[in-house]
């Protein structure tokens, strides 16, 4: 597989040799962007994610203006109302809370945990990976040992161990921290790998010999070249985090009711499967579509950066 580094090198050389263009002046990034745009499945997936994100962000508004319910409001006399019930488009749950509203707020939690976790993993992992890869030597050894340690602890075991610490106060943020505590390691390794393959290239040596300091080299030259890998990893990561959050809800270590998350709605509804199947179906579909979209988008981004294996 041709690494992105080689393509990036072409682009960077073009940049460094300022105008001495040896090929049509279209940078790596705009080429990739065009390939991405042409990928219909990928763009559709992106639209889905964007839609979910908007819904998640606008939850309070939608709750007040569209559905006229909030997520903890109970109408116990009308519990288990089926979809298309007057006043509850998607029905109600076991104590009469509006399903549509809870799905909307659930998006906030599920996507919130997804994006926040990935953000934390990326920030921490990239910093560690860049430092380790660039500085090498002792720093590299120590940091990578640390990453090895984190990655050696089985994911779910670590979640559970940390989960029982946070149990009483599980929140969106604490949950993201828990899941990110494993995720950053993989990102760090990935970034370090990229840095190792880039740092000895000619353009790097050239820039260094021009007197550029460490920070400038890292931020202006290394980092942008690791971005493609990061973006792909991030997109693919969001789906995985949403699934992990759902699994934690099933185990009881995730978000607790009345705060809705798609995962806890799905787990909780299992016992009502035989008479109120939509309570199971709807959050399940939301999870499925979002994770699917995230994965498709991640694949599309990867294909856009490196189209050889379409």
């Amino acid at each position: 597989m041709i690494s992105q580094g080689q393509i990036a090198e072409t682009a960077r050389l073009a940049g460094v040799l300022e105008g001495a263009a040896t090929r049509p002046a279209q940078s790596f990034w705009s080429e990739s962007w065009e390939r991405l745009r042409a990928n219909r499945a990928g763009m559709l997936a992106a639209a889905v994610i964007a839609f979910m994100a908007v819904v998640a962000l606008a939850a309070p508004l939608l709750s007040a203006l569209v559905t006229h319910h909030n997520f903890h409001e109970q109408d116990i006399q009308n519990n288990f109302a089926p979809p298309l019930f007057p006043g509850h488009v998607l029905g109600t749950d076991e104590i009469g809370r509006d399903t549509l509203t809870r799905l909307i707020w659930g998006a906030q939690v599920s996507l919130g945990v997804g994006f926040l976790t990935v953000a934390i993993s990326v920030v921490v992992g990239t910093s560690v990976g860049l430092s380790a890869g660039y500085f090498g030597g002792l720093a590299d050894d120590v940091l990578m040992r640390l990453v090895d340690v984190i990655l050696s602890i089985p994911r779910l075991f670590l979640f559970i161990l940390v989960g029982i610490l946070f149990f009483r106060s599980a929140s969106l943020v604490s949950l993201s921290l828990v899941i990110a505590s494993v995720g950053w390691g993989a990102t760090a390794r990935l970034v370090r790998g990229e840095v190792l393959s880039i740092r000895n290239r000619d353009f790097m040596l050239a820039t260094r010999s021009l007197g550029a300091g460490h920070l400038r080299l890292i931020l202006r030259h290394l980092l942008p070249n690791t971005l493609p890998v990061l973006i792909v990893a991030a997109s693919l990561g969001v789906g995985g985090v949403i699934l992990a959050e759902a699994a934690l809800d099933y185990l009881g270590f995730g978000i607790h009711p009345p705060t809705p998350s798609w995962g806890n709605m799905l787990s909780n509804a299992q016992q009502y499967f035989t008479h109120s199947i939509w309570l199971v179906f709807l959050p399940g579909v939301c999870i499925f579509i979002t994770v699917l979209a995230a994965n498709l988008f991640g694949n599309a981004v990867r294909d856009a950066f490196d189209p050889r294996l379409r």
Binding site: I76, N79, I95, P257, P258, T274
Partner: protein, 586 residues
């Protein structure tokens, strides 16, 4: 995801088989039209269900085969002296016979004893004449020495009973005077004061242990006795079944004891299988992987569609409730302690919150009509139940007014405030019990409507149990399973604050007095009068709000016959077990 019968192992942990002074027909003795209706409905269904099975008398009894019971929790020990949960007590109840036992109705029957002893004229002494044909499974006779030995583990001067640390020693220290063997087959037990719950609380649940096997073990180390191998793999038993194997986290298997003094059981084996949750129990009943299990209320209606099981329901001795932290001196939670325990306004607040809960809705919707509204602190099966208590019909307006009067006015965010303190607190319950997790949310929402902020917080069962000693809580919501005796000391007496179930910190000298008197009177009608007053006080002071009386919901495979499960025959006490058989003999 723990819980032994779809509800919660917690109540089993505090299960107390309290004395039921020998009753004939306890349906007749039930006071109160409401309680009678409740129980009769349950009783009828129970009798009907059993009636369906009871044609077994004329049917051919098949020998052999096995029965698999689904349990939500793993057992912890098979020694009656230590066990506090029903998974464990169910199993050791099969392996070890007691001197006396309970019928489904709560009446006492003799087992190892030849007859149920009546207390002597001094009101302190109980004389047990033992059968002479009872043998341990290794051939040794079971004698009075075994009984004396068993009690010496929990009281007396033979062993360091505090180091052994049985579950009963604090109470026995207070009430038990002596246990002596008059001769090889006669035991005399004497209490320090007349103590009504003695037989049901301290004799029935404590089956004799084999002295010839365990004496050397406890002599070696009293403190290590609870870890002895025998407690996890009993080698010698007296009951209808003997230990076969324990596949940890999977199942316990017991097999028929051919030398059982009442006759070899029909079944060859009995398996208690650990199942992860209520949904799995229901599924496995349908697939036939288990033959018996407790059903969650939300799955009850669906179980009717399963063609291979019979559903059985009956009024259970127990209740679901919520309790206040009402101790202003509670160092861990002083704020709510002052809110709920304030000498001037605490009671008003406690009562107001209770008025704001629509318990009928709760019973209908959250418990799927498989529960009845609780009206008093005694369970529906209790002969001491009284209806002459303060009534609390659902009245949020009244609740609101009461809070206003108590000085709690609505603050800027809608939550009531008084002297700078917001009426806001956490409600905890144990994860795994779906009905309860849903209930705390209903409570929170009901109280929100009257300006009280309650945050529902489900916590793990062991944490939940710890709150009874640490008292680190604002409000708990839970369930209690009680036994035959109406004694409520374990819950409301001030001496068990931080030790028993009085996590509320409730202290009423008047009530303490009554509770003490009520157990030291042996005449049932006199006791009933005292308990009527006890209920009046408790339903007025309201240290805990009684919510509903959940019915016992179980399902049994159609191939099982003579399974005489009933209100007091659910866990340890199953005198009918040896007569159970399976129609296909497998």
């Amino acid at each position: 995801m723990t819980g032994s019968d779809g509800r919660d192992p917690g109540f089993e942990q505090f299960e107390r088989f309290l004395d039921g002074w020998s009753r004939r027909d306890f349906i007749r003795r039930m006071g109160g039209a409401a309680a009678f209706a409740v129980f009769a409905a349950g009783g009828l269904e129970f009798l009907e269900a059993c009636g369906g099975n009871q044609t077994a008398q004329s049917q051919n009894v098949k020998k052999g085969g096995h029965l698999t019971e689904g349990s939500l929790s793993d057992p912890t020990t098979f020694n009656g002296v230590f066990s506090t949960d029903t998974a464990s007590s169910t199993i050791f109840g099969m392996m070890f016979a007691s001197l006396i036992d309970l019928k489904a109705s709560g009446d006492l029957i003799p087992v190892i004893a030849k007859e149920v002893p009546k207390v002597e004229s001094d009101q302190l002494t109980y004389k047990f004449n033992l059968r002479q044909d009872v043998k341990w499974s290794d051939g040794q006779p079971l004698t009075a020495d075994d009984v004396v030995f068993t009690y010496s583990l929990m009281a007396g001067s033979t062993y360091d009973y505090k180091a052994i640390n049985s579950r009963y020693w604090p109470d026995l220290e207070q009430y038990l005077d002596s246990v002596k063997a008059l001769d090889k087959y006669t035991v005399v037990m004497k209490t320090k004061v007349p103590y009504a719950p003695f037989l049901t609380g301290y004799v029935i649940p404590v089956p004799p242990l084999p002295k010839h096997v365990l004496e050397p073990v406890v002599q070696k180390s009293a403190a290590d006795f609870r870890k002895a191998d025998f407690n996890f793999a009993p080698t010698v038993v007296s009951g209808p079944f003997m230990f076969d194997r324990w596949d940890k986290s999977q199942q316990v298997v017991v097999k028929a004891n051919p030398g059982h003094f009442l006759g070899r059981p029909n079944l060859d084996s009995y398996v208690i299988k650990t199942v992860s949750d209520g949904i799995a129990i229901a599924n496995q009943l349908k697939t036939g992987e288990i033959d018996f299990g407790g059903i969650e209320p939300s799955l009850w209606d669906d179980m009717a569609t399963a063609g291979n099981v019979n559903r059985i329901t009956f009024g259970a001795p127990g209740w679901d409730y919520y309790a206040y932290n009402m101790d202003p001196a509670n160092a861990r939670r002083p704020v709510t302690g002052k809110i709920f325990g304030d000498p001037a306004t605490g009671k008003t607040v406690r009562q107001a919150l209770y008025y704001a809960v629509d318990r009928k809705s709760l019973a209908d919707k959250v418990y799927f009509k498989q529960a009845d509204v609780a009206t008093t602190v005694e369970p529906p099966t209790s002969w001491a139940l009284s209806t002459n208590v303060t009534k609390y019909p659902y009245d949020p307006k009244k609740a609101s007014d009461m809070l206003d009067q108590a000085g709690w006015k609505a603050g800027p965010d809608g939550i009531r405030v008084k002297d700078g303190v917001r009426l806001s607190f956490e409600v905890i319950t144990n994860v795994g019990n779906k009905a309860r997790e849903t209930t705390i949310q209903v409570l929170a929402e009901s109280w929100k409507k009257i300006g009280v902020e309650a945050q529902p917080k489900p916590i793990q069962f062991t944490e939940y149990v710890k709150t009874s000693t640490t008292r680190d809580f604002d409000m708990v919501m839970g369930g209690i399973a009680s036994g035959v005796d109406p004694d409520l000391s374990q819950i409301y007496h001030s001496r068990v604050i931080g030790k028993g179930l009085n996590r509320m910190g409730y202290h009423s000298p008047q009530l303490d007095d009554m509770l003490d008197k009520a157990v030291q009177v042996l005449d049932q009608s006199k006791r009933k009068q005292i308990y009527a007053q006890v209920q009046q006080i408790l339903m007025d002071d309201l240290p805990a709000g009684m919510l509903v009386w959940p019915r016992a919901l179980v399902a049994v495979s159609k191939r099982v016959q003579n399974f005489g499960i009933g209100p007091f025959n659910r866990f340890q006490n199953r005198p009918w077990l040896k007569d159970v058989f399976v129609t296909d003999g497998k």
